[in-house]
Symmetry: C2
Subunit: 412 residues, 2 copies
């Protein structure tokens, strides 16, 4: 417990996290959720062989020595069913998505043809059988699982639900999350200005971090350093699936949070992690609730949220990909590292030949929240690192909200 690494602490947290139950959501609310059921195709798609282009459906044998001239016997657009069978010397004008008629074995695109009259067309080039035809069932076949339980509902998956006519689906439910700040030094967002106090930024930074995962948290406010008030606030928080308490978990004699949580039946698993920022990071388990004790400094609190709360919340609501994406980047400057804790350095990223360059956002003091608002990633300096040199490859965890870049990244 005295020298818990970040990885060991993550394993401790994730080892105690359970998947929450399922609920039904409408398609409009489904983005980002995780399926708690298998979704099966309810039809063949396309339901018959269809044209992949606007052009003419014909018999490939008729145009083997193109140019060749053919009679147009019918017009078929998407939504129409063909009425005639294509015979030798005949073709039909066909639109993208329309059924290929009996007799025809291929499609040629309109760009390779030339109209001679309303009912006659010249085919300029030969075309093989099955050209530009999308075969029946290419997209999906009746009964097959098109989205398996555990699939995250990306936009493509939401489209797939619509494709099988599912207006709602069973997904794992979202955790109910409460956020509580603690400490007499804090001034609430709507409290009058007091120059000697510190505005409560943590509640809102954490709110936004939770929102970024698609979850709407409840803000319980600020618990004062007064045992009965703190107890009452923590009791409220213990009605939720997840309670995030910031402040009050360090070793100071005035920190009531840990003993109060324990008195309320929370089994504390750890209360310190070998990391910077974020040393006083606690985690405990109550009958209904997973409790994260986050540091009082906003930056430390946010970094600990990234490392421990993000994967936990994502595991609860069914995700298998629970960690932030990491990339390898080239460090643009030296980084000193003398202590024995893993360090998470706020960095900006710039695209360069073959990858990314990572540059510190500047002063890394844990009270400097502005640096967190600039950061695109957290560069990981492992505990056993003795310093890093400019040019070295480093691992950067991407932070959400930085998922876009100025340039398209190439010309095409």
């Amino acid at each position: 417990m005295e020298h818990l690494t970040v990885t060991a602490a993550q394993q401790c947290v994730l080892g105690s996290i359970k998947l929450l139950g399922a609920e039904s959501v409408g398609l409009e609310q489904s983005l980002g959720r995780v399926l708690a059921e298998d979704i099966r195709a309810n039809r063949d798609q396309p339901p018959y062989d269809v044209s992949a282009m606007d052009g003419f459906a014909l018999r490939s044998a008729d145009v083997a020595s193109a140019p060749a001239q053919l009679d147009i016997i019918e017009d078929i657009k998407a939504g129409d069913m063909p009425r005639k069978t294509v015979q030798a010397g005949q073709c039909v004008r066909i639109m993208t998505g329309a059924p290929v008629p009996q007799g025809a074995d291929t499609v040629i695109r309109v760009e390779d043809t030339q109209m001679l009259s309303d009912t006659r067309v010249q085919i300029n080039v030969p075309v093989k059988a099955n050209n530009d035809i999308r075969p029946r069932g290419e997209g999906m076949r009746t009964g097959e699982v098109v989205l398996a339980r555990g699939t995250e509902l990306t936009p493509g998956a939401v489209g797939m639900l619509a494709m099988v006519k599912r207006a709602s689906a069973e997904v794992y439910r979202q955790p109910r999350v409460a956020i509580l700040s603690t400490g007499d030094e804090l001034e609430g967002l709507h409290d009058p200005f007091d120059a000697d106090k510190i505005p409560d930024a943590n509640s809102y930074a954490l709110m936004a971090q939770v929102q970024a995962l698609g979850i709407t948290p409840d803000l319980l406010g600020i618990a004062r350093d007064e045992p009965s008030h703190l107890k009452e606030m923590l009791q409220r928080g213990l009605q939720y699936d997840v309670l995030l308490v910031s402040g009050g978990t360090s070793v100071g004699v005035h920190d009531y949070v840990r003993p109060t949580l324990e008195a309320l039946g929370v089994q504390m698993k750890f209360w310190r992690v070998e990391m910077k920022p974020g040393h006083p990071m606690a985690f405990g388990v109550a009958p209904l609730t997973w409790v994260f004790g986050l540091p009082g400094n906003p930056v430390s609190s946010m970094v600990c949220f990234e490392e421990f709360v993000v994967p936990a919340l994502r595991r609860m609501n069914g995700h298998t990909r629970i960690h932030r994406r990491t990339i390898t980047a080239r460090l643009t400057h030296d980084v000193k590292h003398k202590h024995s804790r893993a360090e998470f350095v706020r960095v900006m990223l710039s695209r360069e030949e073959g990858g990314y360059a990572a540059t510190s956002t500047g002063a890394q003091g844990s009270g400097i929240l502005a640096s967190m608002s600039k950061a695109e990633g957290l560069m990981v300096v492992p505990a056993d690192c003795t310093g890093m040199k400019a040019g070295e490859p480093v691992t950067v965890q991407l932070l959400d909200g930085a998922e876009y870049q100025n340039e398209a990244g190439g010309e095409w």
Copy 2:
């Protein structure tokens, strides 16, 4: 116009896009929005020199030849103001965030001390001046711009707004987006099953793509291939900032969409782009509305949304980073490329030593929506490429919803 590249088409779109106006939003709704005002600090933070650790504030000269024993004259916790001045041989017990008292010039953490009695402590090691002190104004100084106009409100920036006690802020407004599908072949989500029809997946895939940008679109439904109905639906769409019409923009004679849009005063800028999937991709400008004509195939429609609509919507609501992040990955297999259009291949990514490996999701037919729901990125095959070999470095645009990974990406 006949051979418009993706890059040229993007430039055409972005050249006509204007930033929308500003509106005020509450902190709870501000995540992901872009500031339309400069935000200034309303106080020094911290308001005085404060301790960065739980420990003792003392005079560094007193412990130059530590171990040394000092009298504890006061306890100061965060939220308290010191009442006494530290004299030679004295110290105060101090909590993280509490003000450093007059007379003291440094802080030593509790781990480097040993209590002798309630009022006397042994300092085990010497400590320099200014150790573990966060100076007044380190986080911010009164009047300085802490978040500039144009900043995206990430969780850190939302925390910063709370830090300066802003319960609301001016941000660029979100575009109002309408989504319309077209074609007699389509079956609506709530329509009865008809084996000969194609379910309207586009409306919902596009809905989810828009939602992923933090915008709630309106679904107008399906316009039939009947001129007056189509005109009425398009007129409704032209009341919005952005109209996404899918289907009906190819060169087929049954495609009424383009002439109807033109009759309604939409100036079409292009109607084809040299890309695969997505060839029949149109863009036009009306007095109130930017109109995107997306292909009828769900995959093509989604890829065109990524390439053209994502950067446009992000530019409208004030983002400067408007393109999807790209990474360089190692291709795991050969890719053929014979035509002269840029191709966007759906790929999955796996982490490997030094970076990522990219692997096709399989069959790339534009009707195979399942492949889009699996994709983590779009690999770009430039128009002039003559094929790619396994092992080559390739550019991959990351798709949202794939921002997480199974493993933490290292141990620390």
